[in-house]
Amino acid sequence: MAFLALMMLGVKEDYLIVQDLVRIVCTSCIGL
């Protein structure tokens, strides 16, 4: 339950940050 609460605490802002990270490819991370 504590982890679920942590997840819900961060979901509002972090979800969008993570989505941006998934959408924008880090070229240096994949050796481009």
Binding site: L6, M7, G10, D14, L21, V25, C26, C29, I30, G31
Partner: protein, 238 residues
């Protein structure tokens, strides 16, 4: 799924992966945590997500869902039963996790991603296959190919080498094995200590009491299949 932009979600997946892959639909937990470290933010969502995954299923995602683990299982078919017997050093992956986070904090960059063999395979290679115009052979790509090649060679010699010793995600998920709701339990009344379960274990677990509870156990269930007396079974804690 991530080949369509709307499927590129902000969820954190429970295994090592690379969101540099053109088809990625979820974030790699290690990549996400590194990024948040560089931003100077606490990754509450990632910590909460990994906590929920771990509390429910422990390290089962490593055994059932991880694509890099699947590569190791595929390589084990080529190796057959000739895996080198090496001692389990469960703490190395925790040292690796500490180094990964420390390097991200020190360099303010996702340092591990530049060397990650899973990123080499799912990010560097798949991206080049999807976008052939980006087909370049430079030093960062050479480093990626070296780490991937080295991991494959070691996986051919030692069963699930990366998962056993170096996977930082395995360290996080493995820490939940003792408290996870889904687990493997041993019926001591049925067990005759033939140790067939330990001989078939791809993660090199050496003690009966470590099955299901060790940070190395990926709950793959090979031991359950191998046990001639059916002394091992998946259990759900209430």
């Amino acid at each position: 799924m991530g080949f369509i932009r709307i499927f590129k979600t902000g969820f954190v997946c429970p295994f090592l992966y690379c969101y540099g892959c053109p088809f990625a639909a979820f974030g790699c937990p290690i990549g996400i945590i590194q990024n948040f470290v560089t931003y100077g933010q606490v990754p509450w969502f990632a910590i909460g997500s990994l906590g929920v995954y771990g509390t429910l299923l422990g390290r089962a995602f490593c055994g059932w869902a991880c694509p890099f683990g699947a590569l190791h299982d595929l390589l084990s078919y080529f190796r057959g039963d000739k895996s080198f017997k090496v001692r389990p050093f469960w703490y190395i992956k925790f040292i690796m996790l500490f180094i990964v986070l420390g390097a991200a904090w020190y360099a303010m960059d996702t340092v591990f991603c530049k060397y990650c063999p899973a990123g080499s395979l799912f990010g560097a290679i798949f991206f080049r296959l999807r976008y052939p115009q980006s087909l370049t052979f430079n030093l960062p790509f050479a480093i990626h190919m070296f780490t991937l090649g080295l991991t494959i060679v070691l996986a051919l010699l030692i069963s699930r080498f990366w998962c056993r010793y170096l996977c930082p995600m395995g360290a996080i998920a493995g820490a939940f094995n003792k408290v996870s709701i889904v687990n493997i339990s041993l019926d001591e009344k049925k067990c005759k200590e033939c140790f067939v379960c330990l001989e078939t274990c791809g993660m090199g677990i050496t003690k009966l009491e470590d099955i299901g509870s060790s940070t190395d156990c990926i709950l793959c269930g090979r031991c359950i299949e191998a046990c001639p007396l059916k002394a091992l079974s998946f259990t759900i804690k209430k």
